[in-house]
Point group: C2
Chain length 278, copies 2
């Protein structure tokens, strides 16, 4: 698996780098970004936090807008930022912002035309970590986080693979896609009309069925414009409470769905993950 370096920016003593590669899982060319903390110069491998972005985003949003590099450089954690879907002229798409390119929802699509490329779940869980751990001085110690659609992705991926991630966190996640318009639209397209098939990608369902726990942290703004209709954190809270699942869910007055919220609390997520990565 070869990768091509396409940008380099020194940042907080470490390096932000973008790469292009051919993904066999997604059947197209993909771009991802890494932040390599200065500790890679010491000759030991560093752990990694995977960050899954939300609808319409790419690898660039978290790297440009969250300020994540400052504390990652302090703690010696690499940040891995994949794109949010397969992309390209020959990849299926839709005119709306919440389906198709930029809206992969971190599932493996079973329905045409999406099933030809839209296997973001396998890409994030299997192919990308293999590439990362082959090409960079990054260990198999992994944490995962994300925002909105990416918060859903992080939670479901950690819940389905508790042996692969030491902790999980999310900002403003889509807490139960089977119970909100964004999720219902995407899952109908990608997974088909049979709602029973959707449950494999629903955080609340996965918590209900969990047998091994991954420590989880969620932050949610109370002035988030998507809170009531799409995000529904109370469903996540209820599922965790019923199961005695180790979820810390914090609500914040005045904060919205933007990266201004993420930037304000990203430090606490890094320190949370650092506790379990070591």
């Amino acid at each position: 698996m070869s990768i091509e370096n396409i940008s380099n920016n020194k940042c907080f003593g470490g390096w932000h780098k973008q790469y292009r590669h051919r993904s066999s899982t997604l059947n197209c060319e993909m771009r991802f970004a890494v932040f390599l903390p200065p500790q890679i110069n010491t000759g030991v491998k560093v752990p990694a936090l995977y960050w899954l972005s939300g609808l319409t985003c790419t690898d660039e949003n978290v790297m440009q807008k969250s300020g994540i590099q400052r504390v990652a450089a302090e703690l010696g954690i690499a940040i891995i930022a994949p794109d949010t879907s397969p992309r390209g002229d020959d990849v299926a798409n839709d005119d709306s912002y919440d389906l198709g390119q930029g809206a992969g929802f971190y599932v493996n699509a079973s329905q045409a035309p999406w099933n030809r490329h839209f296997h973001m779940y396998d890409y994030i869980v299997k192919e990308l970590p293999e590439i990362i751990e082959q090409h960079f001085p990054i260990s198999e110690q992994r944490a995962i986080s994300g925002h909105s659609m990416g918060g859903h992705g992080a939670l479901t991926i950690a819940l389905k693979n508790p042996e692969r991630y030491s902790s999980v966190s999310a900002f403003s996640p889509i807490s139960s896609p089977v119970n909100c318009p964004w999720g219902q639209k995407a899952f109908t397209a990608y997974l088909g009309a049979e709602q029973a098939d959707w449950k494999a990608y629903d955080s609340c369902e996965l918590i209900n069925n969990a047998t091994r726990f991954v420590p989880a942290l969620v932050d949610q703004g109370n002035d988030d414009q998507f809170l009531i209709e799409q995000l529904k954190p109370q469903l996540l809270e209820a599922a965790a409470r019923a199961k005695n699942y180790p979820l810390q869910l914090n609500y914040h007055d005045g904060y919205d769905h933007s990266y201004y919220f993420i930037a304000s609390f990203i430090e606490s997520h890094l320190r949370f993950h650092a506790k379990y990565l070591r």
Copy 2:
């Protein structure tokens, strides 16, 4: 002078807000952003740091990419981010990125067609602070900073108005526009062919003639793609040395011209300004 609020985002306990207003100086509608730190809730006025952005930028770059709000919130400093030029369908423009809209160079244009709107110097020095100090709990304690073209703007404005700014800083400034292609092109258009008229907007000339000093901090990346041809910090350094001007100029190996560099060192600029704002 009325202003219209067009966005609000809570950030680090304070507020990022954008406003639209009719500028009498620029003869068009303008947008600016403010970050109001949480200390405005204590009933005392807070000091302000004006941030001038570079070519092609708007008020949004520093607010979205620098992480400036974190330490501004800690220190109780408001951040004011104006646009980089007048804008609009009836405002003169040019097809190139380094002249016209997005490239005001913080001068008062004397030449047609630019002289109808391009008076960014007066807008930043006079009209904008009047608006800010009228509408927000912000004192007349001002510092000024900026990046690239905006670093040139911050340095020249502070050097020409030492009574109005307690300190000045810059990232990767155009140190001597009369001696580089960006400055020569813009000054020829805005100020005319007579090079003697350009000197009023050249930091090195202004240091040569300074009678009152404003403490100055400059950071420059050694891997900046514009370092040799456009930025020429050695001219600024030489001018300051000859005059014994209080300029601290730091070079940083590996860093480029991007906001990844600014984000890495913005904290030190805020702490520098805080020393003089109190």
